[in-house]
């Protein structure tokens, strides 16, 4: 190589200023777009919080003449124009424990809805987790040819893609009348002395909402459990078989414990989905705001309360509904964060 030729001919090409400008602009643009996620989340939380703190719409709250800048009045003062306190300051934490939802007297307690939300979600999980994990095991063992297993897995995933309103329509016309004859009425006749089964099932009720939630969370649990079972190294299974374990001994004592992080994480995600599920539950739960201990009487969840009452609500009721929404947001947020933490904490690493 000649002395003068190298550096001169092969000088590193410098970016032109315009190129650099485009590059930097692009980086900033994508960062801006990525931060939209945070902006949207913050806006959702702030909007719901503001609406539960004050009555009236957002533009009234920040209105220059009557808005928040001029103080807030209690609902008792009828003459004051301007901003009124909403449900969060009015009812405080007693909102969570009171059982009376009375739009006529503007007294709101969301306990029946919160109880309904937790009850339906947890019962749905209690039914769906064994079925989902069992299906996942069946799909990862070699009982059936690979092709059939893929088809079954695909079908379970398709179930997750069916819109919840379609499932609700199906539950309303087909599933609930069928289950009422086959399951609910016999259960009521046999076990009617237990308070949970005391009401005569006559139509939409809490138990059928649980059933449709099972159908909705099953694909999530199955898909995530199957993925985490599939990712286990083959040596685990070989080692277990080598010491003479049966197939189910391997599954129960080696494979499921090894995949537990994925299974629990999937279950928590399913719980988050069940807590917030709206349409199917609204169509099948009966939408009662009265507290009722029987599973065969109409009930309600926070989501169904919102879907059912928000359209016709006014004044304090709107604020109370936003307060209920705030409770739901906090609940799903905690469940989702717990799910991510569990997956990270429990996951075993195989090298």
């Amino acid at each position: 190589m000649g002395a003068g030729s190298g550096p001169a001919r092969f000088t590193l090409r410098q970016k032109t200023p315009s190129e650099r400008l485009v590059d930097q602009g692009f980086v900033h643009l994508t960062r801006l777009l990525a931060s939209m996620v945070g902006v949207v989340l913050a806006l959702i939380f702030l909007t719901v919080l503001l609406q539960s703190l004050f009555q009236g719409n957002l533009s009234d709250i920040f209105d220059a003449e009557h808005g928040i800048w001029h103080g807030v009045h209690s609902a008792a003062n009828e003459d004051t124009l301007g901003l009124l306190w909403g449900a969060l300051p009015e009812f405080g934490l007693s909102f969570l424990s009171h059982t009376r939802w009375d739009p006529v007297r503007d007294i709101y307690g969301a306990f029946p809805s919160i109880y309904g939300t937790l009850l339906t979600s947890l019962m749905a999980l209690a039914i769906a987790v064994p079925i989902g994990v069992g299906t996942a095991v069946f799909l990862t063992e070699d009982y059936l040819p690979e092709k059939i297993r893929t088809v079954i897995g695909f079908m379970v995933e398709l179930l997750a893609a069916i819109p919840s309103v379609v499932l609700g329509l199906w539950a309303f016309f087909i599933m609930e009348p069928f289950l009422r004859q086959v399951l609910f009425l016999p259960a009521h006749h046999l076990l009617g002395w237990i308070p949970f089964f005391s009401a005569v099932p006559t139509g939409p009720n809490t138990a059928s909402a649980v059933m449709i939630l099972v159908v909705m969370v099953l694909p999530i649990i199955t898909a995530i459990s199957r993925d985490s079972l599939n990712q286990l190294p083959i040596e685990l299974r070989q080692g277990a078989y080598a010491v003479g374990t049966t197939r189910w001994g391997t599954v129960m004592q080696i494979l499921v414990p090894a995949a537990i992080s994925g299974i629990v994480g999937g279950t928590m995600l399913a719980l988050g989905r069940a807590l917030g599920e709206t349409m199917a539950v609204t169509m099948i739960i009966g939408n009662s705001t009265n507290f009722n201990v029987s599973w065969f009487s109409p009930g309600g969840t926070i989501a169904s309360l919102l879907a059912n009452q928000f359209g016709e609500a006014e004044g304090m009721q709107v604020s109370a509904l936003y307060y209920a929404a705030l409770v739901l947001i906090v609940m799903t947020f905690l469940v989702n964060v717990a799910a991510q933490w569990i997956v990270r904490r429990l996951s075993l690493r195989y090298e």
Binding site: E19, D23, A34, L41, T47, V48, T135, L158
Partner: protein, 303 residues
């Protein structure tokens, strides 16, 4: 201490089907098979009912006519809801695809391991867990009730925005994961021939990752098309054709198939119920088609 070796009988290594553990084994296999059947059964039943009940009321005129007033049986169609679903979903896609792909590019290419990127990934997971009804309430408070869109309250645009909020996490996640699968050598080669970062990403990495991204986008659109909860309080419903005078019908309340199922399904009128099943049929076929398309796209990449 003496260790007594277990005495191995001649038959102890053979499979004894009457041993408790083997009985348990067979029992659990049967239970698992039954669970799988239970898991698949709802899908089959839903599909059968939707295809039979919905399929029976599918007629060409259903696509060109309006729904009847309550109690009457003529006209019998849902053309307005089909147009509405397409319009609202398209608005959602138009808002969320650029934002989602841009955000995904940042996560995969710019900030891969930065704290900010981790925070955004956390935010994406939280946002994908926000119940869809909350999205509806949020957009109602922010857009509908404040009348920020040209002084209109319930509009197709507001519905599109709430669907965009729902689609955003899926699109960011699939873009992020799809671009991470692109081999690093491709980027190095592009930088090696003097390409700038912008050119590398838009001309080399993005085309290489387009199939997984397209899969995610198709699935997100399919999910959004069937969403109901965020639309009840944002686009409301309308039994009429879109009002073309008001921003091509986008600045007015609009009917969608999913809300039609919710509104008509529980009405005591036979025609309305038929239309609810018909809308279910169209939605389910649309969504199954989109899922098959997404699967085909995924296989397309694997090759």
């Amino acid at each position: 201490m003496t260790i007594t070796a277990p005495r191995l009988g001649a038959t102890s290594l053979l499979y004894e089907s009457s041993k408790p553990r083997n009985i348990v084994n067979r029992g659990l296999t049967a239970v698992a098979a039954m669970f799988s059947l239970i898991a698949v059964l709802p899908l089959i039943l839903v599909l059968i009912y939707v295809l039979i009940k919905g399929g029976a009321s599918i007629h060409p005129r259903i696509f060109f006519e309006l729904p009847p007033p309550p109690g009457l049986s003529e006209p019998k169609g849902m053309g307005n809801a089909i147009i509405g679903t397409i319009a609202v979903t398209a608005i959602g896609a138009l808002v969320s695809i650029p934002v989602g792909i841009g955000g995904g590019i940042y996560l995969a290419e710019m900030g891969r391991t930065t704290k900010f990127a981790d925070a955004v990934r956390f935010g994406v997971n939280v946002l994908s867990g926000v119940p869809s009804i909350i999205c509806g309430l949020f957009v109602y408070a922010l857009v509908v009730n404040t009348r920020v869109i040209f002084g209109e309250s319930f509009t197709a645009v507001a519905g599109g925005i709430s669907l965009a909020v729902l689609m955003l996490p899926t699109i960011i996640k699939t873009t992020d994961e799809g671009m991470k699968l692109v081999p690093h050598e491709l980027r190095l080669a592009a930088y090696g021939v003097g390409a700038s970062r912008f050119v590398t990403i838009t001309r080399v990495v993005l085309p290489a990752a387009i199939a997984p991204i397209a899969t995610g986008v198709v699935l997100a659109i399919a999910r959004a098309a069937g969403e109901t909860a965020p639309l009840i309080f944002t686009c409301l419903f309308s039994p009429f054709w879109p009002d073309w005078e008001r921003g091509l019908g986008l600045l007015a309340p609009v009917a969608t198939m999913s809300v039609q199922i919710y509104n008509f399904g529980v009405m005591p009128f036979e025609t309305q119920r038929e239309l609810a099943w018909a809308a279910s049929f169209v939605l389910v076929v649309l969504i199954l088609g989109a899922n098959l398309l997404a699967r085909w796209l995924a296989r397309f990449t694997a090759r």
